[in-house]
């Protein structure tokens, strides 16, 4: 396979938007770079920018490797990506409103009704609930990959509790600290106002009649893999970071327990999955949630962000229909590509997938984080056979996609600088009619040679992402 290199043309010529960086890199002594990389490592450790890895010793924390070669995007390209994401997230929010109200799209036969209504992520309790501004996914993390010049695909629309934005911000801070001279030479669009933008959105979706809302961030706790991010965002926005046990509901109103007595809460940026939010409504064994919070939410006394039930729109079995949603709700042609998807619940698709396992990427419909997936070309015979059995046993639990030729970018690895595959997760914020994002997003890079899996839980690293202004 031929891969698109973000920095160089196929003939080794440096791409125009990387020219200055390339010149700087070549002119900078290797020892200085090495020293700076060590400095970055130390700083990340001291600041404690870590994440926990599930399946490892409890409470163990790891650093996400940070690479000092930025991923640079020219402004023109970004503008088109931005338009594409705006369009997509707008349509996804309209879809959510529709299926929790009149279900026009199902009536029109654009999506098989059972695909939506029998989906485990479809929350019947949300039927008819009017959420402020008709927005469900206030925060979306759209995963984009490039397969060629101007050719971007959406891999996933993360509409539940997407994470990673703190790394985007910390990576920028680190780059500016390590190499201030680079920012003097490049017009890099700033991203540091993200927390302000987020707070503004959260305040904008407060329940009706609340003019000065109390906003909180709800975390599962200090042992969650993304705890650093939860506390970081709370601190940056200047709001309380709460756990489920800090909140309680009385007469359908949510309060937090403070040293001065109960205080009313209006907007909850929750980083807990639907299933764990309310033991009275969802999983009864959840110790992370708040009993009765769903009733308070349905009564319109508190806003949850994102809304309950957004998972039905980013589910892998719904993903293939997103282009149709864009056409249906907006009457526009999709700007960003969807990856062609085989739905293994369909007999023909399954037969094709089983015959081509070695070429395809197979994903669990409800999986996330790079767990439970098969990358055919990078797998052993045993792994492929294992998945074959899984597919035959439970075809509707899987989808398959062609293995995309993910672009790569030079990256510092043990043997020096070598190309590694990457993706991009911009964070799209919505309230009412307004959809905003900061330029760029989080670039994740697969550090293992040839690997196409960029998730940090699978050993992926990150890069600072630069959108160059004209």
């Amino acid at each position: 396979m031929n891969f698109y290199n973000e920095m160089y043309e196929t003939d080794g010529q440096v791409r125009a938007h990387y020219a200055r960086y390339d010149a700087w890199l070549k002119a900078t002594p290797a020892e200085r770079i090495e020293r700076k990389r060590a400095e970055a490592d130390l700083a990340f450790h001291r600041v404690g920018i870590t994440f926990a890895v599930y399946g490892e010793e409890a409470g163990k924390e790891r650093l996400i490797p940070f690479d000092i070669i930025p991923r640079i995007i020219p402004s023109k390209e970004w503008k088109s990506m931005e338009r594409g994401m705006r369009q997509r997230v707008k349509a996804l929010n309209m879809f959510l409103w529709d299926i929790y109200h009149d279900q026009e799209i199902l009536k029109a036969g654009k999506i098989p009704a059972e695909q939506v209504l029998n989906n485990t992520q479809y929350r019947k309790v949300m039927q008819g609930v009017d959420v402020p501004g008709q927005v469900y996914a206030h925060i979306a993390g759209v995963d984009l990959v490039r397969a060629g010049e101007g050719e971007f695909y959406v891999l996933e629309d993360n509409l539940r509790v997407p994470s990673g934005v703190s790394y985007m911000l910390e990576d920028r801070k680190m780059m500016m600290r390590l190499f201030p001279e680079l920012f003097a030479r490049h017009k890099v669009a700033p991203v540091q106002h993200y927390p302000d933008m987020l707070l503004e959105k959260l305040r904008a979706v407060a329940p009706n009649g609340v003019s000065n809302p109390t906003v909180v961030v709800l975390t599962p706790g200090a042992y969650n893999s993304a705890y650093f991010e939860h506390s970081f965002l709370a601190q940056q926005m200047g709001v309380e970071l709460v756990e489920g046990r800090d909140l309680f509901v009385k007469d359908e109103v949510v309060y937090m327990r403070t040293t001065q007595g109960p205080q009313r809460v209006d907007v909850i940026y929750r980083r807990i999955d639907d299933d764990f939010m309310d033991p009275l409504a969802f999983r009864a064994d959840s110790a992370l949630g708040v009993p009765g919070i769903l009733r308070a939410y349905q009564a319109g006394n508190v806003t949850l962000s994102n809304a309950i039930g957004t998972g039905v729109a980013d589910d892998k079995s719904i993903y293939p229909y997103v282009p149709d949603m864009i056409r249906f709700y907006l009457d526009e042609e999709p700007i960003l590509n969807n990856v062609p998807t085989y739905m293994c619940r369909k007999k023909d698709d399954l037969a094709y997938v089983l015959a081509h396992l070695a070429e395809l990427v197979v994903k669990e419909v409800h999986g996330a984080g790079g767990y439970g997936m098969l990358v055919g070309p990078a797998s052993t015979k045993e792994q492929i056979e294992h998945f074959r059995q899984l597919l035959i046993a439970k075809p509707d639990g899987y989808i398959a996609q062609p293995t995309l030729a993910l672009s790569n970018c030079p990256t510092f690895v043990e043997e020096g600088i070598a190309p590694r595959h990457l993706d991009l997760r911009p964070f799209v914020l919505s309230s009412g009619k307004c959809v905003n994002m900061v330029p760029g997003g989080l670039t994740r890079v697969a550090l293992t040679k040839g690997s196409l899996v960029v998730n940090s839980s699978q050993g992926g690293g990150t890069k600072d992402t630069w959108v160059l202004e004209d």
Binding site: H45, R46, V47, G48, A222, S231, F232, A234, Q235, E240, L241, V242, E243, R245, D246, F248, K250, Y255, M256, R257, T258, T259, Q260, G261, P262
Partner: protein, 315 residues
Amino acid sequence: MLSRTADHLFWMSRYIERAENLARLLDVTWQMSLVPQSEEAANQNWNAIIGLNSLEAAYAAKYSAVNSDNVLHFMVSDPDNYASITSCLRLARENAHAVRGTITTEMWETMNATWLEARGKSFEHIINAGIGEFFEWVKMRSSLARGTTLGTLLQDESFHFIRLGTLLERADNTARILDVKYHVLRPHGDEGATDFYQWGALLRSVSAFEVYRKAYRDVITPERVAELLILRNDMPRSLHFCMNGVLKNLELIANSHSGETLRQVGLLHAQLHYARVEDILAHGLHQWLTDFMDRIYALGDGISKDFLVPMAEAA
């Protein structure tokens, strides 16, 4: 402020203060053990440390003999001992971690770096580098934690809970140090050179040797040591000084539940304010200190009930 946040802040500062005072106590015991004395007397000193922290059972489960090596190992870096210096630093960091968004970045980095460094020090490593060095390091890290708090944190409720934790813990620890050393020293007091070194070491352990000189300009006597550590209003590690701060900070965070706790603090503070060392000694110092430590414990309990443990949902 969230009750849970206040709880983490309170315990964060208690644990770091506890680590510091434990380093001080071990340091003075270790220094005293260098002065010629009978083996029995030496072991009695080490035994007292185990007894002081009510760790007899946990200690006996791991070690058969009480001697300097074993006790130091147990109290300095034994991860199984929840009261060891290393454990205290870990707990301080865990509490800080839970509220890292509330404290300043400098405070968090200090706590985190302290723990990362402590985790990297094995007991062998500590002994080889000189255990005195290690105690100095713990004291410096605690000073740094306190300094970043004073130098960077907004002096709102969170600050008051931190100060409350520090001062309450210090009052308890100073009382313990005084109790265990006074206890061991007093019966053997023979006015000799040994006595001078022993009292000198005790004063140094609470950074009071120079203060003593300045305040009394006279030979070291047990009565004056007791007076300095209990009643001096301006000595930062004395019980009186600590209670000044506890009272002040508690007044600043008062809520509708905290009246009784505040009254108890006021009472204890007044008793220190108007006490005479002769009366305390006549009463029996050990008994007086035991009573004081019980009351400190009750205050911690009261603060916890009034502010930290989630309050009744109606209110």
